[in-house]
Symmetry: C2
Subunit: 355 residues, 2 copies
Amino acid sequence: MSKSPVSVVAVPSNPVSASEQKRLQMADIARLAGVSTSTVSRALNKSPLINEETRSRIEQLAKSLNYSINVGAQNLRLKQNRTVAVVVPFDSTSRQHLSDPFFLSILGSIADALTARGFDMLLTRVDAEELDAAAQIFHTGRAIGVILIGQWRHHDQLNQMAARRVPIVVWGAQIQQQLYVTVGSDNVAGGFLATEHLLLNQRRRIAFFGDTQLPEVADRFQGYQKALQQYQIPFDPTLVLPAVFTEEGGRAAVAELLARQTRFDGLFACSDLLAMTAISSFRERGLVTPQDIAVVGYDDIELARYFHPPLSTVRQPLVAAGEALVSAVLALAEGQVLPPVLLPTELVVRHSSVM
Amino acid sequence: MSKSPVSVVAVPSNPVSASEQKRLQMADIARLAGVSTSTVSRALNKSPLINEETRSRIEQLAKSLNYSINVGAQNLRLKQNRTVAVVVPFDSTSRQHLSDPFFLSILGSIADALTARGFDMLLTRVDAEELDAAAQIFHTGRAIGVILIGQWRHHDQLNQMAARRVPIVVWGAQIQQQLYVTVGSDNVAGGFLATEHLLLNQRRRIAFFGDTQLPEVADRFQGYQKALQQYQIPFDPTLVLPAVFTEEGGRAAVAELLARQTRFDGLFACSDLLAMTAISSFRERGLVTPQDIAVVGYDDIELARYFHPPLSTVRQPLVAAGEALVSAVLALAEGQVLPPVLLPTELVVRHSSVM
DNA sequence: GTGAAAGCGCTAACAG
DNA sequence: CTGTTAGCGCTTTCAC
């Protein structure tokens, strides 16, 4: 035998180890147990056909050897699949990170709902301009359906996918002539609630922060207008700012609003993140919330109550959202036809809106 | 699992539609193109053997029919797999949600790193007491390796998995006699930096919030003690609170600290979430930050700069973290042997710690 | 350049 | 109750 070489460099680990680490398979268990693979298969799948003694013997063996049935092969054979894809589009220009806490939370709730039903979750980030990648996940059989978080502006692409029979459900607002299924909160009601609350607290010049090109925001805006109308407050377009949902959105919107030199004493921001960055900007400029500007956000993220001042906001039902999205995509995958789902929305009053 | 107040009512559609929707497969394309499946396979895989004309014809056909190769079957045949599992343990007792923004962000950075390398990400939440479920994901062949976010107290279980040759990398702190690979930030340095900063700003009675049973926190605590020692400030155990990383953690710790009637003028909280809830609690009790209590958090989540006061904190390198975790798990899956990875940590001074 | 045939790891008739 | 056999959708020698 060759004697081991003395070297100072790290011992190059056995490069074969990956391949030599031959994965155990059913045939191995069968041989070791002295039965056929059919028997092992049946035993491990708890078929009632198998002798109790045989079964437990095989189970023991498998467990002690750390063997588990290969799901890939099983799925192929069974033509089944218990994986759902969750797609989070990102904006290729801003390379925006998965940053809004609300989206992250909804992701958690989907994960829970999926786990509860015994499904795996494939999480994918795709370029918002290439939503077709989401369809590929389905067409390649990696998932039986997809949940898309963030409707954004991609109505047409989504419609196309649905038309091609991709089981897809999107978190967002219901739109006319929409072929795909949406699950979302009642944004019109949410917008109304927030605005009405501000109105009821004697605010008359209420700014609106949100990109109304997004369907969800458009609905909230509609609620905003409806409230103004109902309380007979004139609508002033100079109070409307197309703030994007990024961290800088609130800051930029505040700057623009102030530059417009329009008077305002209230703000309805279409996300808590937006509300928080706005409040932070106001403060830098000597404007205090709620005294000078009463603010209501949207989402009710966890940090909202620990913010200063604690943020009044419109709560979207997180757990229900996950449940509904998962139910919907599963139903769709089974070929059912579904109506859109509208979840209730709730005003949470804290201190950013009342003195 | 709470049930949602809204149920998805399915219009009972044609129940056969799911099954009759026969998925296209390679044989279909072959028949339609008048070639054999071998040819289709080669064409779609861009084999140089195929006639250019034939290839493009087949590609066209496949595209127009929305056909894509079935990855499951392909993987089986090729004995390959491009999926990595990301496991987020949850505490079964508190049923704690995936709530800390930092964990969520790291998840995003992992997703990006995986996507960049052409890997799929399987996201799974598992009961912290049943970490073995993470091993199953590997043993069943659903993923070639697993990234575990949150070392918590499960050192032993993790060691067992590693001993069984499950390619697993853990986000957390390096521990003695650890068989598994960790990637984490330099927690000792982070703790030192935060504490030193407070010390340099004339704070002498610095409270520490964090569950020192967690390896990462233990390291930060070590940094805290090191700083005190270096600046010759006596260590006082009454200033140390085992705050958990939940939203209520900060609040409870503040209550307990106040109940102890010990004097303090600074706080190093082991997460931004903890710092924020603590500041919020202080405020409720008339204590203002930074005047009365200077606070430094940990993580540098996005909202930290928009908090009031903007939060001083120790930044953990998010993007690098995702990259490192992914590189590590991929290397492990190939059978390589790796050392733990320690990422640099950086103090970000804002206003919660300086007057 | 293209096709026929074998087989990836598993399950399910169909026999015994 | 258990084994034999065929085949899930794909890739790849091996022939032509």
